[in-house]
């Protein structure tokens, strides 16, 4: 902006300070907004980006946190590809993710539709209470569910016994443990997603429903042809967030099956990728290998988020 100044009759020694001041002010005005938003980015740099890059770095080492750090190149990754425990953990993660996300989102959709009903009494009470599981501590939820699913003394098996069925050893079996953990996740997140859907539904004009009702559309038809289409963007959002969350499930498998330490069962039947990462890094101090697991997980999450994003934009742009 200083170039805009044409030749002026003011002597140079007077003109310069004024010009400097103006430059300074310009710089300040230019910097101020960055300074205001800097706290987030500085914190992100230190607690987000740096650990991320550092993880990439140590995944190239045989890294003992209190001993030696030996550079091994890509050995950790080639070992990872041959490691049945990693592939097992990946299978468990996807299986638990599908088992928890699909029923959870469907249930949340239905609940949101019901909670949005014009003639619902005590609406505030019901709407608040769906959030109760979400504010309960994960650890407490997990311990209670683990007891309910217990082989000999759990409530579910007691009930199965009453009906004349054999007891199911949920924690010991592959599917049993996955269903058990998926139930815990769905229990915790269904209410949260319900409220997201409900918020979006409330923005839909009531007249649409009234008009549909006048035309003779029943509740199911209204749900299918009014609620769902208006929820498209928010459905896309919940699918993406529950994918990212679902691929990082950790606390439930950590606490649900104390036998065998960090493996979630004797056959690692419900050990997720994050739990495997934790076992390698903090259970056995193989930080380099643990970091390699972390990098692999990072790649998978990014790939899936991308895929989801493509899918979601298609869902969003489709006309009802």
């Amino acid at each position: 902006m200083t170039t805009m100044l044409g030749p002026a009759p003011v002597p140079p020694d007077v003109r310069r300070p004024a010009r400097n001041r103006r430059i300074q002010q310009g710089v300040r005005e230019f910097l101020a907004p960055y300074a205001y938003i800097s706290p987030f980015f500085v914190l992100f740099l230190i607690f987000g980006l740096f650990p991320l890059l550092f993880t990439f770095y140590i995944s190239l080492f045989d890294w003992d946190p209190i001993g030696e750090h030996r550079f091994v190149g890509l050995d950790n990754f080639s070992e990872l590809l041959d490691d049945p425990r990693f592939w097992g953990a990946l299978r468990n993660t996807f299986s638990i993710w599908v088992l928890s996300t699909v029923p959870q989102l469907l249930l949340a959709l239905g609940l949101a539709h019901l909670l949005n009903h014009a003639r619902l009494r005590l609406a505030a009470l019901f709407r608040m209470s769906v959030l109760v599981p979400y504010v309960t501590s994960v650890a407490a939820t997990t311990i209670v569910f683990a007891q309910m699913f217990d082989r000999d003394y759990g409530m579910i098996n007691w009930f199965l016994g009453l009906l004349g069925f054999e007891h199911i050893d949920f924690t010991a079996s592959l599917w049993g443990s996955h269903i058990m953990i998926a139930t815990m996740i769905a229990w915790r997140w269904t209410g949260y997603n319900t409220l997201l859907y409900l918020a979006a539904l409330q923005a839909v004009p009531r007249e649409l429903y009234e008009a549909a009702a006048a035309d003779g559309a029943n509740g199911w038809k209204q749900f299918l042809h009014i609620s769902i289409p208006s929820l498209r963007p928010i459905i896309a959002f919940t699918v993406v967030t529950s994918t990212i969350g679902g691929l990082q499930v950790f606390t439930e498998p950590l606490l649900v099956n104390p036998v065998g330490g960090l493996t979630c069962g004797a056959a690692r039947q419900c050990q997720t990728v994050t739990l495997y990462l934790y076992e390698q890094s903090f259970g056995q101090f193989h930080f380099g290998y643990g970091a390699a697991v972390g990098v692999a997980l990072f790649v998978i999450v990014v790939a899936f988020s991308g895929l989801n994003y493509l899918l979601a934009t298609r869902i969003r742009s489709e006309r009802p």
């Binding site: 914190l43 311990i143 079996s173 036998v259 493996t263 004797a266 259970g283």
Partner: protein, 419 residues
């Protein structure tokens, strides 16, 4: 001017936020204060209280970090680049990992450990001594082995209830299995809580070699481990197991309900049993373990190299871990001394526990740790033990065929040690 100030304020605020995380005062580092990290639930506070009462000028800042594993993890993080305590308690299973990098700790021989090392069981001392003679830790207790059994259930099954007679029933694991079969036949109920923990983890700790050879090389595929593994499969095959994994919720519930009659219980497990099943008070008794002497567990006190006050920490160790100190701690808390000179002390021999029908726990457990042959504990002991245990648990859960179990276990161990 105003804008300059607001810009500066924003920057300072950001900086302050960051510094708040890194700050932390150094605290007082006078020679009379030291920091001590311990696990929770083993009541080191009682020891600290005794010590500070005798030395009112000393201040001990005790932190109960969490479980034994969590304490080891916190110590690892601290050693890797944080504020270290002056004194730290390390569980025997975690110790080998730290022994790999002894430079992180004060060599206690420089503080006088050579003068007191003769007080402790030689095979325990060997675990915290490096190849070139540095001493990293002083043992605080050992985990002697014994069997806890329900006298009421034994009586109902027509078995003897007197602890000496019960001990005579099972000098070996094979005879233990036979007693179990008799019990199951008579009552129709399972005998022992599970086989992986109650048989394998006991038997594998009774040999002269575990997962490493005497010259400190990995050697888990050996006859002694195989024998312990096979006797566990035999116990499973005999149908005497309740298949309740140790420390699980089912294990606790079954203990309360008397759904098994026997738990092989290292000395440190006794207090857990009391907490888990208080309603079974007086129904238990303790008999010697089949298969001879053995040890599982125990802990060590160590001083990190960067400790601010190593001298004060050492004074604490040498006083509280003297034979007299360990005896007092046993009488107060029940963890087993590592100093054999007090094993014949009338107070220790005479110590009984009403929860276990007044069994002389001091006498029974100290006998189980005498005559142990030292074997080397290596850095991979933890993961190897877990894989063997997990495979045997899979057998109990019907997921692994007993005939393939040994090969499966070896494959799993191989993966775990990343050979």
């Amino acid at each position: 001017m105003k804008r300059v100030r607001t810009t500066a304020t924003a920057v300072i605020a950001a900086a302050a936020l960051l510094l708040a995380g890194c700050g932390g005062s150094d605290g007082e580092s006078d020679s009379k204060t030291f920091e001590f990290w311990s696990f929770a639930n083993i009541n080191q506070k009682a020891d600290v209280d005794v010590y500070t009462k005798a030395h009112p000028d000393v201040r001990v800042k005790l932190t109960e970090v969490g479980s034994t594993t969590e304490t080891a993890q916190a110590l690892t993080a601290a050693l890797a680049g944080g504020k270290v305590p002056d004194l730290v308690l390390i569980q025997a299973d975690d110790l080998p990992k730290f022994m790999q990098s002894p430079d992180n700790f004060v060599d206690l021989t420089t503080l006088g450990a050579n003068d007191i090392k003769g007080n402790y069981l030689d095979w325990v001392m060997a675990q915290s001594t490096t190849k070139d003679g540095k001493i990293i830790g002083v043992p605080t207790d050992v985990g002697g082995l014994a069997v806890a059994y329900r006298t009421d259930l034994f009586k109902a099954a027509g078995l003897p209830t007197d602890r000496d007679e019960v001990a005579k029933l099972w000098p070996t694991w094979d005879e233990f299995i036979n007693v179990g079969k008799q019990y199951v036949q008579k009552t129709g109920k399972p005998f022992v809580d599970n086989t992986p923990t109650s048989v394998f983890f006991q038997a594998v700790n009774q040999g002269s070699q575990r997962y490493y050879s005497a010259d400190r090389k990995l050697d888990y595929d050996n006859e002694q481990v195989k024998a312990a593994f096979d006797v566990t499969l035999k116990a499973f095959d005999a149908g005497i197991s309740a298949k309740q994994g140790s420390f699980s919720s089912g294990w606790t519930a079954a203990m309360k309900k008397g759904d098994y009659a026997v738990v092989c219980s290292p000395s440190w497990m006794l207090s857990q049993m009391k907490t888990n099943a208080p309603e079974t008070n007086g129904k238990w008794d303790i008999a010697t373990i089949p298969g001879g002497s053995g040890n599982w567990g125990g802990s060590f006190l160590a001083i990190p190299k960067r400790a601010k006050n190593a001298k004060a920490a050492w004074n604490y160790i040498s006083e509280m871990q003297s034979p007299k100190g360990q005896l007092d701690h046993f009488l107060m808390q029940g963890s087993l001394p590592t100093t054999p000179s007090v094993y014949t002390d009338p107070q220790l021999v005479g110590k009984t526990d009403p929860f276990f029908s007044n069994a002389p726990i001091g006498k029974i457990y100290t006998q189980s740790v005498l005559g142990i042959k030292p074997f080397y504990f290596g850095p991979q002991d933890g993961p190897i033990g877990t894989e063997f245990l997990n495979t045997l648990t899979s057998v109990e859960q019907g997921k692994v065929n007993p005939a393939n179990a040994w090969d499966t276990a070896l494959t799993n161990v191989k993966n775990a040690v990343r050979e």
